[in-house]
């Protein structure tokens, strides 16, 4: 590869998802993150009850994201071939786990009354 720049990466992502879907997903991810920060600042503390449920959802998020990536790429766990593959697998799982945890925590906080 000759060079890798941010506009180039954005152009690739736009092609990957379609321009509208990519920006819709980017805005959605940003809004969820913003909502998470909002409830943290609003509540001034982490609610351990909500955090527990968020943590319990993490394995589901991890497994779902790994299964999703494997499904769209026609691959299986036996295709893991080297250390970088293990790291990629863990990263995919981590993104799914953290993403779902933030979503679960934020949704609970927004639905329930402020303490």
């Amino acid at each position: 590869m000759k060079e890798l720049t941010l506009p180039m990466l954005i152009a690739v992502w736009e092609e990957m998802f379609g321009q509208s879907l990519f920006w819709a997903l980017a805005v959605l991810a940003f809004l969820v993150t913003l909502a998470y920060v909002f409830v943290l600042l609003r509540d001034r503390s982490l609610s351990m009850r909500r955090f527990l449920l968020a943590q319990l959802s993490m394995p589901f998020g991890a497994i779902a994201s790994v299964m999703f990536v494997q499904r769209i790429t026609s691959s299986r766990l036996r295709d893991i071939g080297g250390p970088i593959d293990v790291l990629v697998l863990l990263a995919v799982g981590a993104v799914g786990a953290v993403g779902l945890a933030i979503l679960v925590y934020t949704t609970q906080s927004l639905l329930r009354k402020q303490r």
């Binding site: 590869m1 000759k2 060079e3 890798l4 720049t5 941010l6 506009p7 180039m8 990466l9 152009a11 690739v12 992502w13 736009e14 092609e15 990957m16 940003f30 993150t33 913003l34 920060v37 909002f38 600042l41 990536v69 769209i72 790429t73 026609s74 691959s75 299986r76 036996r78 295709d79 893991i80 071939g81 080297g82 970088i84 593959d85 990629v88 697998l89």
Partner: protein, 457 residues
Amino acid sequence: MTGSRDLHGTLATRRGFLAAAAGGIALAGLGSAAPAAPAPLRTKARIVIVGAGAGGTGIANRLASRLDGASITIVDGRKEHWYQPGFTLIAAGLKPAGYAVSTTASWLPKSVNWIGDYAIKIDPVAQCVGTMGGINVPYDYLIVATGLTLNWAGVEGFELERVGKDGIGAVYAGPDYAEATWRAMDAFTDKGGTALFGRPATEMKCAGAPLKYAFLTDDYLRRKGTRDRSQIIYAAHNKTLFGVPIVNEKVKLLFRERGVDVRWDHELKCIDPGAKTATYEIPASQSIKNGVIVETPAVRQTIDYDFINVIPPMTAPRVVRQSGLSWEDKWVDQGWIEVDPSTLRHLRFPNVFGIGDINGVPKGKTAASVKWHIPVVEDHLVAALQDKEGTAVFNGYTSCPLITRIGRAMLIEFDYQDNLVPSFPGVIAPLEELWISWLMKETALKPTYNAMLRGKA
């Protein structure tokens, strides 16, 4: 001033700062930031591009945004655009034929004049291009991006109509033929038998594709439990499997592991679809036995098959071979154009450039090379418009995500000197069969290719 005040106001709030920091971290992780786009250059130059494939379309978009007032004309009669790196995935049953098909018109900018007709004459002395319909297009600068011709007649007995039937495959022939090849390969791997693979002795596009298809067929045989009663024969055109020595050794090792039977110096000459046989020519050779030189004459050898992937000899299109742009002392039977390997500028006609498969350079008939050809040609052409010399250099870079089974590939990248030039050194090992390399081939390659067509990557 307004922008600066807004930024200050944004950073002053806690929430705003967190958002800006997140953006900053994302940017820092990317390494190189984008250079500022240069202001468009005003020019009245007439630029003609022959061929609206990957190279022609990519450079048309780049020049359209880089030049102001230029007359840019692209000549190609093909209405469909084919994403050729997708053919292997189609022929492996992983994607439908439509995966590789879009329209030429959808990629071209409005400011570019597309002549939907085939070029039949290029006259570099009179500086004009003639089309089949009789249109004459004069130019100040010419970019040759015609791609190459698949000479199916070079394999006697082969007919495109038979692809998909009687165990005949032809992955290179187009998306529909790649899909028909999958039907033949699927039927073959259900039962097992003898599968024949190989490559032509001419230069060819994506020299890794014949190997990938042999690996994929092996994988399907194993998945379906028919590998034990099957034989895979790879008929190499010379004494190597891949042009880069270190990759060649790795592929030899993998073929040995997978039980692929390799035959050397086999050049496919004809097939007999009725008898299901393929005939190869083994050229004359010399060897020394007991201190005496022994001459072995050329022989023909016939091999039975149940499935064959036919790849024909490849040459420059006739319009190029008749233009006088080809090398006179190299590849004389193939007709690739005489460009400087570093600048891709024609050595006898400095207002002519080449992009893609048509270039007479030692390596790089791949879309990955095209991606690098485009900015190099753009740099030298734009410099020439300002009576300057360009500085960009093409080092022979090419890339081959060499699929070794469904779910794994080796991300092989190399240059003119056969050096491995990995994009992610120390992270993605080029000679390891990895899932991440497969993920890139499956998900990122086509978007990157499309971004290249739009002139954005």
